[in-house]
Structures are given as C-alpha cells and as structure tokens.
C-alpha cells in the first residue's frame, strides 16, 4: 500500500522508539519526542509499539492512501479527526490534517506499519546526521511512503479514557531528579516557572525567564548527555535535552527529567510554561514501572478490540 504526501506540514518525520546501543559512536538516541504517544498510536492499529510512525509538528500533512486501511492519531490533538482511536480510511481518500489544536506533536500510525529499512538499530529520522527514516529527512510533497497492507477492523464503539494518558498540559509540572551539579546552583530553578523559548527543537528546549547563577567556575570534563538532562550553559538559561540530544555534554547538569514525564515536555510549544519538582529515584522508577504496566494492560485490552 502507498501513502502519498500531498502537503508535508511543518516538520513531519518517520520515527520509532529510538536507537540504543550506538551512542558510543556519537549517534543520537532520537526516535519520537513523545514515545508514549507513538507506542499508543501503534497499539491502536494493532502494530507492535516500536513500528515506524509519523511524527507531526504543529501543522500536519495532507496524505493520500492507495488502499483501505486503519490509522490512529495520538499525542497532540488534530482538528477534525478522532483522537486516540482507530480511524477507517478508504482507498483513494485524502486525509488533510492542517491544524494541531492542542499540544505540539501528533503521531500517525497506520495498520501494518510504514515500511522503513532500519539503520543503526532504528527506523527513526536523525535530521542532523541525515540518516534513517525516509531518506534521512523530513517528508516533502510528492514523497511516497509504503506500508504493509493488512486488513484490520475495530469492533464496537469505544473510546480510551484520557486518564490513561500522561497528564498533558500547556503548563505542566515536570518531575525531575537531582543533577550532578545541582548544589552549585541556588533555589531559583525549583521556585519559578520557565517559558519554552523559540530556540527549541528536537535536540533541546532552551528555557527562559530566569537566568541561573552557578557559584562555581570549575571546568567540567565532558561526559555522556542523554535526553532529559537539564544543563545550564554559562549565560544561565537552562536547556532541557530532548530526543535528538547530542551524545556528549560539558555543561553543568542541574537536573534530569524523570523518564515518565518526557512526553509532557514533548507536547510543549514555544511560549508554553513549565515548572520543575524534585522527586526521589525510587519514586521515578515506581512511576516508570507503573507506566509500563498500564501500557501492557492497554495492549492486551486493545487486542480484543481489533481484528
């Protein structure tokens, strides 16, 4: 089955759950910014959670489908289409997804999954290294993606309760763990709200509102940087590293975002606000385990509803 791109949207890329085992070569983890939403979109059409799907940013694409199929959209909400539900698409149908109504990044999965040759342990697009995904780049008009044609249908009428999703908000409180250099900064980081600046992308979000002062000028030896690290460059505006984070960093680290709250950040736009709350490692891991359990339960439940 073919899916033709009529209009690409602002930044539409093929993503999956990211690359592992390869960071020692300088290749970023990458994958979906909101990995929960990508996994869920796949479950909703009967795919494995890690199947390649489209990440849509702020303005969506217009796509033409060559065969009958089932799709699902999760993460950000898009005007004019059911959110987090399988949607039947007829052969020849043009699906126009112009406006992301709420959130920043939506995920579109198609039953059977997009056919993408994995490279370096992943199918996601690494925009900076120009590898993976569809030709290592964002989609353009007239690109033609293919997907395995499978016949799948949903049974009965049902809707997932939003309580099953991360607590998406335009001003979330994000839970973090202490960073290695946390003690070299005062309390400002914990007591204030930050704005997501326009200098924010898949690599990282630059926050503004309060410059953080470091009471040490000790130079640090670079070490691994990972998505979720909150680092503070000398000018004092913190940067939260996101999915396409560089693999090495030498700036002091004030905090690390708990894995379960990365989707909350992924859905923020420039101008949205965020505040941070410190939690303990045990709590973060309990939350991570709970998230996996809930997801597995969803997987089992949805299997019943799709055939």
């Amino acid at each position: 089955m073919e899916i033709k791109v009529i209009r690409p949207g602002m930044l539409t890329t093929v993503q999956d759950l990211g690359r592992h085992g390869i960071s020692s070569t300088g290749v970023t983890e990458g994958g979906a910014m909101d990995k929960f939403a990508l996994g869920l979109a796949n479950l909703l059409v009967g795919n494995a959670p890690n199947a390649p799907a489209l990440e849509i940013t702020l303005t969506g694409p217009e796509l033409e489908f060559s065969s009958d199929t089932l799709i699902a959209i999760t993460g950000a909400e898009i005007e004019g289409i059911e959110h987090a539900q399988p949607v039947k698409i007829n052969a020849g149908c043009r699906l126009d997804l112009p406006v992301v109504r709420k959130g920043c990044r939506a995920y579109l999965a198609v039953a059977g999954g997009f056919t993408i040759e994995p490279i370096l342990n992943g199918a996601g697009t690494d925009l900076r290294a120009q590898l993976g995904g569809f030709k290592g780049r964002a989609l353009r008009a007239d690109d033609v993606l293919s997907a395995t044609a499978v016949k799948r249908e949903t049974h009965g009428r049902w809707k997932l309760s939003p309580t099953l999703f991360p607590a998406y908000s335009a001003s979330p409180e994000v839970r973090v763990l202490p960073g290695t250099e946390m003690d070299e900064f005062g309390e400002t980081f914990w007591k204030t709200e930050f704005e997501i600046s326009t200098q924010s992308d898949r690599m990282g979000y630059r926050l503004k509102g309060h410059q953080l002062k470091r009471d040490s000028s000790r130079e640090l030896i670079s070490s691994a940087a990972i998505p979720g690290t909150v680092q503070v460059p000398p000018e004092g505006n913190p940067i939260v590293l996101m999915a396409d984070a560089q693999t090495l960093g030498g700036y002091p680290r004030i905090a690390h975002v708990a894995q379960v709250d990365m989707p909350l950040l992924a859905q923020l736009r420039a101008g949205d606000h965020v505040s941070f709350r410190k939690i303990e490692l045990e709590e973060a891991q309990a939350l991570a385990i709970q998230r996996v359990r809930d997801f597995n339960r969803l997987e089992v439940g949805l299997r019943e509803k799709l055939r």
Binding site: H20, G21, I22, S23, S24, T25, G26, V27, E29, I119, L120, R128, A129, L131, V176, L177, G179, T180, I221, S222, S223, A224, I226, G228, T229, Q246, T247, L248, R253, H256, V257, A258, Q259, L281, E282, A284, Q285, A286, A288, I289, R291, V292
Partner: protein, 218 residues
C-alpha cells in the same frame, strides 16, 4: 544520572592511564552487559550506562549487577588497543588555519605539522557528531582557543584544533575548531555494523601526506 543512567567515574584527569581503565571497563561491560542495559557510553573519565528504569529491582538491582560486572574487569592486554594511522594533508586549502596555529605556537608551518603528527593520541570520546573523535595528547604549544566565529561549513575529513584537543570532522558540519588539514579517510559509515572508524581508547597516529597522495587516496 536521572532515572535511566548510571555514571561510572575513573577520577578527574584525562590521560592515557585513565583512558586505559575506561577502555578495559568498556570492553568488560560490552562483553557482558548487566541485564537492563540499553547503552554504554565511554567518554574521557567516565562510562555512562543507560538502563531501562522499569526493570525489576530498579536502580538498586541494576547497580549490583553493574558492580559485579566491573569486578571482572581485566587489565588491558596488548592487542586490545587498536592503533590507527590517519593520513593528513596539512595546510593549504585543506588546513586554512595552519598558519594561525603555527604563529600561536611560534613555530614554522613545517614545525607545527611535525609537532602535530609526532605524538600518539588517544581517543577520549566519540561524540558531538556521529564518528567525531576527541583526541587527547595535543602538545601544549599547539593548544589554540576555538574560533570566535565558528564556520558554517567545515568539510568532511577536516582535522581541527579546539582548545587542548584535536579532532576530525566526519561529515560536513558547522564547527568552531581551527582547521589544519584534512584526511581522505571516512570516519563514519552508517552502512557498517559498527559505524565509527574510531572508538574511545583507540590510539591514533597522524601521518603527513601530500596533496597528490590525498587526491590518489582510495
């Protein structure tokens, strides 16, 4: 580090002894990764091990397995460290900043080249961009602060100096290091099983080649 990674530290001095320890531990971890390991990232004085926070037992159990694995680390044997010779055509259009670096070192260009090509460097880390090696061991004379205005386009293969380190740009990219030469070797190939030519802990020896040799390189 956060709820998904553990950092193993090997002191706070970048040097051959530390990097040998990092290399030995990396080999042991890669050969026998503790259950739950997602990624192993050696760099200068640390190894960061990324793990799945939702594994049974969480951090406590993971740390126990990690420590057990680190107990098994053996001293590096000969043959476990690879030495690569990297041909470089210094100066001219390939190394537009050679003159400036030489001037800073109060050396002639020829002496600056000899000084850069003499030592055996050690790869401190591979990162910044896919396949980019940070090489430790640059003679102090050649230390040069980064350019105040980074270039928007540094050609692939460019050998540069940034502060106390020297390195090689694997792909065309923006960059703030002073460029002193270029290698015809390909440092990163996504089609390979292990895509990076160099690994943290490898030894590197530069060898000056002429523009003709560069052009003829296959």
């Amino acid at each position: 580090m956060g709820d998904t990674a553990v950092v193993v530290g090997f002191g706070n001095v970048i040097g051959a002894t530390t990097l040998e320890k990092v290399r030995a531990a990396t080999i042991a971890l890669e050969a026998n990764p503790p259950l739950g390991t997602l990624d192993i990232m050696p760099a200068f004085t640390t190894i960061t091990v990324v793990y799945d926070p939702a594994i049974p037992g969480g951090y406590a159990a993971f740390q126990e397995r990690l420590l057990a694995c680190l107990q098994m680390v053996k001293r590096l044997r000969r043959g476990m460290v690879t030495t690569l010779t990297i041909p470089v055509c210094y100066g001219g259009e390939f190394g537009p900043d050679l003159g400036l670096v030489a001037q800073g070192a109060k050396l002639s260009e020829r002496m600056a080249i000899a000084s850069h090509a003499r030592p055996k460097y050690i790869v401190g880390a591979v990162g910044f961009a896919p396949g980019f090696p940070y090489l430790a061991g640059l003679p102090i004379k050649l230390h040069t602060p980064r350019r105040s205005n980074p270039r928007l386009k540094v050609p692939a293969g460019s050998v540069g100096i940034g502060g106390k380190q020297t390195g090689i740009y694997p792909q065309e990219s923006p960059g703030g290091w002073h460029l002193i030469g270029r290698t015809p070797l390909k440092l990163f190939n996504a089609e390979e099983g292990y895509p990076s030519l160099l690994k943290t802990g490898d030894q590197v020896q530069f060898k000056a080649i002429t523009a003709e040799e560069f052009a003829a390189w296959k």
